[in-house]
Amino acid sequence: MQAAKDTFLKTLATRLAVVNPARTVIVDGASRAAVLTVENETALPAGTVLGTFLLSWEGAGEVVPEGPLMYVDCKVSYGSEGTSDMLGTDRGRVVTAMDAELLRISEPTHAVKCDYTKTPPAGLGSNIFWTRPVMAAPTDANGVLMRTAAVRVFLFAEVG
């Protein structure tokens, strides 16, 4: 399952670098496409969730009992407090732009599963595939407009 999670992260990050090269985040002094996984980062930079797609891995299981196809749920969080130039009044526009980016980087809804512990990454002989993001209503706290989207990722368990 780890390879599936790594593949999903890398796929979204690679696509985001094309869809919006300006959406980056600085982690440990290095600039990366703004897609991070909570469990991979020991110390997220302050305010990371603003302007960044933050992936949280949640429940997992077999699609059919004792079948080879598994799923793992992913929550994608992102938000904005708007820009200072606009006194924060454009936070809704930023989140809406990120909605559109998330939909674009989610297509096509499949990718070749790779082992990213190897260099170069090695194909594992199957695809992962996922549902289109389902976006929840935004929440508003401390001036930050937040959105979460749910994606279910499917994988063949025995191949990585």
Partner: protein, 316 residues
């Protein structure tokens, strides 16, 4: 290699159609050995978008030769080969409407509104497409370019001439009904050489996609198209080659290829409720598969099913 890859999961179903030569009844060949980009299919395949409720029905029947008092089965033989397919087109377009309507599909030409007709009144005069026009750039006399605007639909085809039987350059869009004398616009009323103006240059009209029938024929004229219309009860049957592709999700891809599909049901729609007061109306189409000869083994067939497995998937 893992056997799990042999369990296939697919995404959406996409439809692609290409012309059949109605004179020779020869369809466009789909070769599964050649890469087929679902987003940019090779010419002359026309992408018709997503379809729903894709259903194949084989109506072929078998007979059995029996012998002896007990009627023991000895051998089977094929009595009848027949295949049908039905889909709901999610997108509305000229070709989707035509396929779903089964009979000829007409372009409603811009008219002066002086003589009303149910499929479009007497049209405004066409303007000649000049020599050197291509399938995507229609050269016109510069003095008429101001009559056009970006976003408008145009049709580019020849005038009707006495003696014509099948109408449309490159693709047959209808046949001449012998009981009437068609006007000079009869070809352009059924032509598939329709495009959307994406830009107006100093010399002509740039189209957003190539005309399906290719560069305008000598003598072709341009008229504006303001709507599309089909009518129930006409004689013409649409006939096209078709590929339905199951998008890969887990790795493999499946194609269903019909060398010759004839529309076989009248115009109907499928309505899917989206929310209270909002519904999606899909174009329902049904087809009967016509025979084609396989160039490899000479067999007469009506459809093909191809499976392109992901690399590394076991054969058995």
């Amino acid at each position: 290699m893992e056997r799990a890859g042999m369990q296939e999961y697919f995404g959406e179903v996409r439809a692609y159609f290409a012309p059949v030569n109605r004179t020779t009844e020869t369809g466009t060949v789909f070769d599964p050995s050649v890469s087929f980009d679902l987003n940019n299919p090779p010419s002359p395949w026309v992408p018709l978008g997503l379809v729903r409720n894709f259903k194949r029905v084989a109506k072929s029947t078998l007979g059995t030769v029996r012998s002896g008092a007990a009627g023991v089965a000895q051998v089977q033989y094929r009595k009848l080969t027949d295949a049908r397919v039905s889909v709901d087109f999610c997108e509305w377009g000229k070709l989707q409407m035509a396929l779903a309507a089964s009979s000829q599909h007409m372009n409603v030409l811009e008219s002066a509104g002086t003589q009303a007709r149910a499929s479009g009144g007497v049209a405004k005069a066409g303007q000649p497409a000049l020599a050197g026009s291509t399938a995507t750039l229609i050269l016109l006399d510069p003095s008429v370019l101001s009559n056009y605007a970006v976003g408008e639909l145009i049709v580019v085809d020849v005038n009707y001439m006495a003696g014509m039987t099948e109408l449309g350059t490159g693709i047959s869009g209808g046949v001449v009904e012998t009981s009437v004398q068609p006007d000079c616009d009869a070809v352009r009323r059924v032509s598939y050489n329709v495009g959307c103006v994406s830009a107006i240059t100093a010399t002509g009209l740039q189209l957003n996609a190539p005309l399906l029938g290719g560069a305008p024929a000598s003598g072709a004229q341009v008229q504006k198209v303001v709507a599309f219309v089909d009518h129930e009860g006409a004689n013409f049957f649409q006939e096209w080659s078709a590929v339905f592709a199951l998008e890969e999700a887990s790795g493999g891809r499946v194609y269903f290829y019909y060398p010759r599909l004839q529309a076989s049901a009248p115009a109907e729609e499928t309505v899917a409720a989206v929310a209270s007061g909002v519904s999606m109306t899909l174009l329902h189409a049904e087809f009967a598969a016509m025979a084609a000869t396989d160039a490899n083994d000479g067999e007469s067939v009506v459809c093909y099913r191809s499976y392109v497995p992901m690399a590394g998937t076991p054969a058995y």
